[in-house]
């Protein structure tokens, strides 16, 4: 591996679309890991499409009680008119399940958006500058960890909408309570990465050059610190959905006239279970399970694929033996980045510390 021989070989760059996150991982994966990722992506994709096209897909409105032939009637068994039956309140179950995906996705987006910017900014500043600010923020975040999200959500619901559960209040209550719990997570991850990156030679080199703190933070630290975000992003999205469903289930959910919400429907179907009416509880419950499963599968497989030790590879066959690339076999059993998501740039990095996975 002399300098001359490697200089001669010109590595062609992969097309842009294959280097995008998720697409890159999908191409990289094989076997069971690929299966997990594909299943997760399909479920998540169906969920997102359902949310977008809910008005077209749903046979009825989410608060519709009567059709052309008068009232739907309560607790009707699945039939040609109501594919999944009707609820105790007389709504069409299929329509409620489909419309519910819209509410779910809104909560996820709002919760993640609210928390990600604050968490990342705080983590960056805290990790980069250190000192008393860092210590105070870490203590606050530790304290927030001890706070039950559901309790916070209830309080928020009361504060925002005075306990009345309209669409806006319900979504915001769930989103804000999740935000408060999530900010520390983003904070922690970004802070740990920042502290690590701060000691890297390229940051020192920028300091030797006389680059300003702002320039170092945003040009050199931030972009390298965000590798793990896609993973937390997926985990938090599923947690957001669970909190919303939990709120609905204990009776602080969104009124059926404002929006469809799976947790609320589950709550109302409690009494049906014992009387043999299975369709009212099964389908909203299934929707929650599937969506959480799908998103978690995506997150988990992204995490596995990001870790070279967990990633499975094609077994070396007799054909297609590539010439030796020293960098990759330099340290076969060595210490390799345990947590980072490489994102679009799969840099073969060796990391000495063990930042723990946040899952």
């Amino acid at each position: 591996m002399t300098t001359l021989t490697t200089e001669a070989t010109n590595v062609p760059k992969a097309p842009l679309w294959t280097r995008l996150p998720v697409v890159h991982q999908l191409r990289q994966s094989i076997g069971l890991q690929r299966g997990m990722l594909v299943v997760g992506l399909i479920i998540t994709g169906v969920f997102i499409l359902t949310a977008i096209f809910a008005p077209l897909l749903a046979p009825y409105g989410y608060s519709q009680l009567r059709g052309d032939n008068g009232l739907f009637g309560a607790q009707q068994a699945p039939s040609g008119e109501h594919l999944l039956g009707t609820t105790v309140g007389g709504y069409d179950v299929l329509s409620r399940v489909i419309w519910g995906s819209q509410t779910a996705i809104t909560v996820m987006v709002v919760a993640v958006l609210l928390s990600i910017f604050a968490g990342v900014a705080l983590g960056l500043v805290s990790g980069y500058f250190g000192g008393w600010l860092d210590r105070v923020l870490v203590v606050i975040c530790d304290a927030v960890y001890a706070f039950p999200a559901l309790l916070l959500a209830i309080v928020m619901g009361i504060v925002i909408s005075g306990g009345r559960s309209d669409l806006f209040g319900g979504i915001l209550a769930a989103a804000i309570s999740i935000t408060v719990v999530f900010i520390p997570q983003y904070f922690r991850v970004i802070r740990a990465e920042t502290v690590r990156i701060k000691a890297e030679a390229y940051v020192e080199s920028a300091r030797v050059l006389g680059a300003s703190n702002g320039r170092i933070m945003f040009r050199h630290v931030l972009r390298n610190a965000t590798r793990t975000l896609p993973l937390i992003f997926t985990l938090n999205a599923s947690e957001a959905l669970l909190t919303l469903a939990g709120l609905g289930f204990i009776g602080f959910g969104i009124e059926p006239s404002s929006a469809a919400e799976w947790g609320y429907d589950l709550n109302k179907s409690l009494s049906d279970v014992s009387s043999g009416i299975w369709w009212t509880s099964l389908f909203p419950g299934l929707a929650i399970v599937l969506v959480v499963l799908g998103i978690t599968l995506v997150g988990e497989s992204l995490n596995d694929l990001a870790d070279p030790r967990l990633r499975s590879r094609r077994a070396p066959g007799k054909t297609a033996v590539a010439p030796i690339t020293p960098a990759e076999i330099r340290d076969p059993a060595g210490r390799i980045d345990p947590s980072g998501i490489y994102g679009s740039l799969s840099t073969p990095r060796v990391r000495s510390d063990g930042l723990e996975s946040t899952s």
Partner: protein, 562 residues
């Protein structure tokens, strides 16, 4: 007698993201009892993979084909490591073959005493009581030269120094009296003076225990010191195999010649340095120096209530314009700290350090920023000195942008191309990302970045210690050329006397934060006055078995005297 290990036509293939990669290609070799076989080669040549195969330590992503026949010390039974069951393999490890790792501080478990760790190995291989195992551990610790083994057996790894830790690791390898020890770069992580001691110990392993050793190293001096026979590997294949004496005196293969030719020798640079001194103007000495350190003291703050750690203690030196000062010392001697202080990365706590007339003791970042454009810095680790998300061109343009010489990286591209050509990199490399370059190429790019503002002072902190020998030779050559062309003053930090000798006009030797000797290369290397410098010089193994044997004798005398 039968060979302790015989490798026949070994092929090892790794599954990687980029498809299958052949690491070892048709390697056959044998090791006789009591023989030291050195496997040399650059990183990626497959030497470590070959050695790990002997212990069956390949990761799951690897597939090995061929045969590795391992015999026990008395020759009573042989096994093919690649074919035996996992259980059998566990029995073989430790009794027939054992391993000494590169980094002693990670090879030992920090939460158990060394005695426990040695006993663990003994007890997993036979019917020993706790007491017997402990007695055996004490005995073996004594034999590898740990003083007072009865009490030190209960010490934890952190209570030993680096060299002693490596002794403990060797003790663990020896305790079951295996016929073969695989030593993977056993001295790379150690200082030169400690390295000499460990090499002595390994020699004793062979002589007293009759153990054969497979020594993996990239250091030709170590090979000359210890090996009986040498195998040279290149790109997964064996290119040459010869007795050590023969290989050094009469290398056959081109690659071996190149490898031996690029090993730096002490004493080669002194003529160049004196020629340069003669060429300087007569009033050069009277010109204002670039860097003046006067009783420089740097202290790292201690924990609450404890005194701080003094890394640099009363060091005085001068770097004049256009002069290269080589700073040599072991790890922990404070050499890197001095370099970092000159670059404004570490605070000076006492004495005075002036860089370009700017006092560094109590400096303000704002006032120092102007001076920074006149300082270049090359870091040790080429892997981490570039932002992985920026292209090489963007990284090299960074100093130009920060100091307002260019509006953005694109505007600086013309200058960046000039710089890349100055360090002998093709301009197209500017569009690549750092991980797409090899270590040597990255270090060139790092040099280009340091030179971007045409500084009159360059600080190079071990710029070649992470590189292979042949790459190191090229980078050093380039450094010398560029220094002659640009004429900057430089502080060249290294732990390797031979490397410093190639470049430096003057050499300063640091020992435990104090400057023990300073002078021209001829003075320091030719007639060292300080006992530490003498020991350092004598410990440096030379790539010539006959000369090294003589030097070993000298070192022994020196150690006995000191």
């Amino acid at each position: 007698m039968t060979d302790v290990v015989r490798i026949d036509n070994l092929n090892v293939t790794f599954a990687t993201d980029g498809g299958a990669v052949k690491a070892v290609d048709g390697v056959s070799l044998r090791v006789a009892p009591g023989e030291v076989l050195a496997i040399v080669g650059e990183s990626g040549s497959g030497k470590t993979v070959t050695a790990k195969t002997i212990l069956g330590l390949l990761p799951e992503t690897a597939i090995a084909r061929g045969a590795v026949i391992l015999s026990s010390k008395d020759g009573s039974n042989s096994n093919d490591v690649l074919a035996v069951s996992k259980q059998k393999l566990r029995q073989l490890r430790g009794t027939d073959v054992s391993m000494v790792f590169q980094e002693p501080s990670t090879a030992l478990n920090p939460v158990f005493t060394v005695g426990w760790q040695i006993a663990e190995g003994i007890r997993s291989h036979g019917e020993f009581t706790r007491k017997q195992a402990r007695a055996k551990a004490i005995e073996i610790l004594g034999r590898v030269g740990i003083p007072d083994p009865e009490s030190r057996v209960d010490y934890y790894p952190h209570q030993f120094s680096g060299g002693q830790k490596q002794r403990v690791v060797i003790a663990m390898a020896l305790v079951l009296d295996p016929g073969l020890i695989v030593a993977d770069e056993p001295t790379t992580a150690l200082d030169v003076t400690v390295q000499a001691e460990i090499l002595d110990l390994l020699r004793r392993c062979r002589d007293e225990f009759g153990t054969a050793i497979v020594l993996i190293t990239h250091n030709m001096g170590v090979v000359a010191d210890l090996a009986d026979r040498v195998v040279v590997m290149y790109e997964g294949k064996i290119v040459e195999e010869a007795l050590a004496q023969e290989l050094f005196s009469n290398p056959q293969h081109d690659y071996t010649k190149r490898l031996l030719g690029s090993v730096p020798h002490v004493g080669h640079g002194t003529t160049r340095a004196s020629a340069r001194l003669a060429a300087r103007e007569p009033d050069w000495v009277d010109q204002a120096p670039v860097v003046v350190a006067d009783h420089l003291e740097i202290q790292y703050p201690g924990r609450l209530g404890k005194p701080g750690f003094t890394a640099v203690d009363g060091v005085s030196f001068v770097i004049r314009s256009g002069e290269v000062l080589g700073l040599v010392g072991e790890s922990g001697s404070g050499k890197t700290t001095i370099g970092r202080a000159m670059g404004g990365l570490t605070r000076v706590t006492g004495g005075s350090l002036t860089v370009h007339g700017h006092e560094m003791n109590g400096f303000k970042e704002r006032a120092f920023k102007k001076v920074r454009s006149d300082i270049g810095f090359v870091f040790q680790d080429p892997a981490s000195s570039f932002n992985p998300l920026l292209t090489i061109a963007e990284c090299v343009a960074e100093p130009l942008v920060v100091h307002g010489r260019a509006a953005n990286p694109r505007a600086a591209r013309k200058r960046v191309n000039e710089l890349l050509e100055a360090v002998q990199l093709p301009r197209t490399f500017g569009d690549r990302y750092p991980h797409e370059l090899s270590g040597g190429q990255r270090q060139r790019a790092s040099l280009a970045r340091a030179l971007a503002l045409e500084p009159s002072l360059l600080i190079a902190d071990e710029p070649t210690s992470a590189l292979d020998v042949s790459v190191q030779a090229k980078v050093l050559e380039l450094f010398a050329e560029i220094q002659a062309e640009f004429g900057f003053a430089a502080l060249f930090i290294s732990h390797d006397l031979a490397v410093v000798d190639i470049l430096a006009d003057r050499i300063a030797v640091l020992y435990k934060g104090k400057l023990v000797e300073e002078g021209t290369g001829a003075e320091v290397l030719g007639a060292p006055k300080d006992p530490y410098t003498q020991r350092l010089l004598a410990s440096l193994p030379v790539p010539d078995p006959a000369a090294q044997a003589l030097r070993r004798g000298e070192l022994l005398l020196l150690r006995a005297a000191g």
